[in-house]
């Protein structure tokens, strides 16, 4: 069950890909049921039911816009799979 906060965050990321923080992505992915694993300079989010659905988010600098773009694509894939 996806929370309304995560859905709202996804809609906001669809609208603009700039200005998102590591904490925002953590809330988004955990809200959609992804697992979170940290190590080195990145955090990996992968879905327990669909392990191929994954993304690595850098945590060593200001995040670039590609992270939000890829996050939206990833969750759209999950939704298409019925997750």
């Amino acid at each position: 069950m996806v929370g309304s906060a995560a859905k709202k965050l996804l809609d906001q990321m669809r609208a603009t890909s700039a200005g998102w923080s590591e904490q925002d992505f953590s809330r988004l992915f955990l809200g959609y049921g992804f697992d979170k694993k940290g190590g080195g300079g990145h955090t990996k989010y992968s879905h327990p039911r669909y392990p191929a659905l994954l993304i690595t988010v850098p945590r060593h600098r200001k995040l670039k816009n590609w992270v939000a773009r890829e996050a939206v694509k990833l969750i759209e894939k999950l939704e298409a799979l019925g997750g």
């Binding site: 990996k44 992968s46 191929a52 659905l53 994954l54 993304i55 850098p58 590609w66």
Partner: protein
């Protein structure tokens, strides 16, 4: 090494983890954010979703090497109970920048088939946060 914005090239990195060395294809592209800042985006071909960025090609490849290592170690820990990590370079990570051969657009088919050939030893980059990888790998 320069890349034209909007195009991507395929390179290779070698990642050593847990005593094994693996070659990964990388799709590398130059991106520009809304604020005008440019950076290189590096994506693993073999592990979709495993990606990172950097202000230079070398930095992007090193950061991607770190991300690949995370993907490898977490996927192995999920499927195997083998915990010990080998000593020596096996517990380190290093990335070899490739001698880049090809330029192609993202719409080109089968980027994996375009991974370039031998990688020069002179392009060996130890990760700054991990010591001894270069010395132990020789």
């Amino acid at each position: 090494m320069k890349s034209k914005e909007g195009k991507s090239k395929v390179v290779g990195v070698i990642v050593g983890t847990k005593g094994r060395v693996q070659h990964f294809g990388v799709e590398l592209s130059l991106e520009t954010d809304d604020d005008g800042s440019s950076y290189y985006l590096a994506r693993s071909i073999e592990i979709p979703g495993c990606m990172s960025d950097g202000s230079s090609i070398e930095e992007a490849l090193m950061n991607l090497g770190d991300a690949i290592q995370l993907c490898l170690t977490t996927s192995e820990s999920a499927t195997s109970k083998r915990a010990p990590i080998d000593k020596g370079y096996g517990s380190d990570l290093f990335v070899k920048g490739a001698s880049l051969q090809l330029f192609q657009t993202k719409s080109s088919s089968s980027p994996a088939s375009a991974v370039s050939g031998p990688i020069a030893e002179s392009n060996l980059y130890p990760l700054p946060t991990r010591r001894g990888a270069l010395a132990n790998a020789k």
